[in-house]
């Protein structure tokens, strides 16, 4: 495969060993072993993540950054250790540059409101792409309503690839902010984010990268990408729901006003005024999702024990197999055929609505996503109201793809 985005030094995974770490894979659904092909919506969690959270609740549950007692100190240390592990995972220069949030969506809203809003005036522009998830569209629309700025959308081609040259040409003096998805959740496209960031930097335009679908699937290096903000979610990368992160350089975070007010984000409060805490605490008002942070740290440990190069190599092989297998089904059309793709296959089948496909193959124990995948503009661009979507994770096997294919053929037969 002569594809730079697939190039990997990894040799793959011992998938049987990986599967043994995921308790949910023992489940039967409608009398069949579960085939979970909806990892892009939410990954399953290995016992290492579940046990790390369980351990916190059972042995050292306490609030953090507050108490002088032993449990609070242990909890603080575990939470901050998780932050260090997350920072290392994305090659952030310092742990203090990682802000814990509720997830990618909150990270993007935080940047839109705290960083971008004070910098925008009527006539300014925010530039995104046609393949964004709603979470990287709507916060910018809200921002544009608030400031009088305009949202501009860089086009994609009929393979679902970003038209990079056009996007670069759209980086005019009016553009004050760029938001771009690293890996499309609806089409699987891997965007040339480093190039976009490089072009934007030359024009002094800050770039936010939505990395929700990238961190589970490939090594991510925020310094090599050259972005200004990187956002991702715990639950897409085998960690807990309700936790995610925002990375930005410390000087950027220092210059940004707080996003929410409350405890933790302050150093001194009086009724005359409040002195804010240093980042990242400045952006973590209120008691955070402590168990979630610890669980995310455990997910990072787990992925690094496998090696992200191996994860990427294994998924690339399975993606090729799945693409070939699905393409062989009569009347099946794959939507999103980018040359650089991660483990996501959106498709339609003649004569069967995606929702019916999803319901029918659930009876064979096969779980996939159907609908617009929270990326309505991208799906509608292909003239479709919805697609069915298979997304791959580290635990998926060729045998599972075979079961998917059998289930799809049975579904097609039902409507024949």
């Amino acid at each position: 495969m002569a594809d730079p985005h697939r190039a990997s030094s990894g040799t793959g995974l011992d998938v049987d060993a990986v599967r043994a770490d995921f308790p949910v894979l023992e489940r039967q659904v409608h009398g069949h072993p579960l085939v979970y092909l909806d990892t892009a919506a939410s990954a399953q969690r290995p016992r290492q993540v579940i046990e790390a959270m369980d351990d916190y609740y059972r042995r050292y549950n306490a609030n953090i950054h507050r108490g002088v007692h032993t449990l609070s100190q242990e909890a603080t240390e575990a939470f901050e250790q998780a932050r260090r592990r997350v920072a290392e995972f994305i090659n952030a220069p310092a742990a203090g540059e990682v802000v814990f949030t509720r997830g990618t969506t909150e990270s993007i809203n935080l940047v839109a409101q705290s960083f971008a809003r004070p910098r925008l005036a009527p006539g300014d522009e925010v530039l995104i792409t046609h393949m964004e998830h709603h979470s990287n569209i709507v916060p910018w629309q809200i921002l544009c309503e608030q400031t009088g700025a305009e949202l501009q959308v860089a086009p994609i081609n009929d393979r679902g690839e970003l038209e990079v040259d056009t996007m670069v040409a759209m980086m005019t003096e009016q553009v004050r902010m760029i938001g771009i998805v690293h890996v499309s959740n609806a089409l699987g496209t891997v965007n040339p984010v480093a190039k976009v960031c490089h072009e934007a930097r030359q024009r002094g335009i800050p770039v936010l990268v939505d990395g929700a679908q990238a961190t589970p699937h490939m090594p991510v290096d925020v310094q090599a990408l050259g972005c200004d903000f990187y956002c991702f979610s715990g639950h897409k990368m085998y960690g807990p729901t309700g936790i995610g992160a925002l990375w930005a350089p410390l000087e950027t975070l220092v210059a940004m006003p707080p996003y929410q007010g409350g405890g933790e984000m302050i150093s001194v409060v009086s009724f005359e005024g409040t002195t804010y805490n240093e980042p990242p605490a400045k952006f973590e008002a209120g008691t955070p999702h402590i168990a979630g942070g610890i669980g995310l740290g455990a997910a990072v440990d787990y992925l690094e024990s496998l090696g992200m190069d191996n994860v990427a190599a294994s998924e690339a092989q399975l993606l090729d197999y799945a693409t070939e297998s699905l393409s062989a089904i009569e009347g099946l059309r794959i939507v999103g055929t980018a040359r650089a793709k991660a483990g996501v296959i959106s498709f339609t089948m003649d004569g069967i609505h995606p929702n019916d496909i999803g319901t029918i193959i659930d009876h064979y124990g096969v779980a996939i996503r159907t609908g617009h995948h929270c990326a309505m503009p991208a799906i509608r661009l292909f003239g479709l109201p919805a697609t069915a979507r298979v997304s791959l994770g580290i635990y998926n096997t060729r045998q599972e793809i075979d079961r998917l294919v059998e289930a799809l053929i049975s579904a097609a037969r039902l409507f024949a």
Partner: protein, 151 residues
């Protein structure tokens, strides 16, 4: 008929209606009409009725795009409302909605083949597919000039 048999027969009914929709098309002289949309799944249905001077639905047609459940439901609706007066059609809307979302027990008087719609009770995410056309019916009958949704 065992539960399994009825599930099979309900499924056959739904697939038959989705593949061979009855009363599909347009009415040239509709007196009442409404559209329904489920933005989440992209299902859209447009329902047209002709109500005569006695208040009886003398004709009905539907058009739309969507999943098998939404099309089958619209087809069965269009078939069954013809001949009903508007009060009875309103009752049928409430009876079908109740059967799918509330009691689960079909009210006495619901036509036999509409019982097939009960299959979706096993798929909570799909109930709105089955109720979409029925909400459009209510909007058409009450002359509500908005796009009906199931929310």
């Amino acid at each position: 008929m065992s539960a399994l048999d009825s599930a099979q027969s309900w499924q056959d009914t739904l697939i038959d209606h989705s593949q061979f929709p009855r009363r599909h098309g347009e009415l040239e002289d509709a007196t009442h009409q409404a559209s329904g949309e489920n933005p989440l799944c992209g299902d859209r249905v447009h329902l047209q009725l002709q109500v005569d001077s006695r208040g009886v639905i003398s004709d009905a047609r539907f058009a739309g795009v969507g999943c098998a459940v939404s099309l089958a439901s619209a087809s069965m609706l269009a078939e069954h409302v013809v001949g009903l007066d508007v009060t009875r059609a309103g009752w049928l809307f409430a009876a079908v909605r109740g059967m799918l979302t509330e009691t689960g027990e079909p009210a006495p008087g619901v036509p036999q083949d509409l019982l097939a719609l009960q299959l979706v009770r096993r798929y909570p995410a799909r109930v709105k597919c089955a109720t979409l056309a029925w909400h459009a019916l209510r909007y058409a009958l009450e002359d509500i000039r908005q796009v009906a949704t199931t929310e």
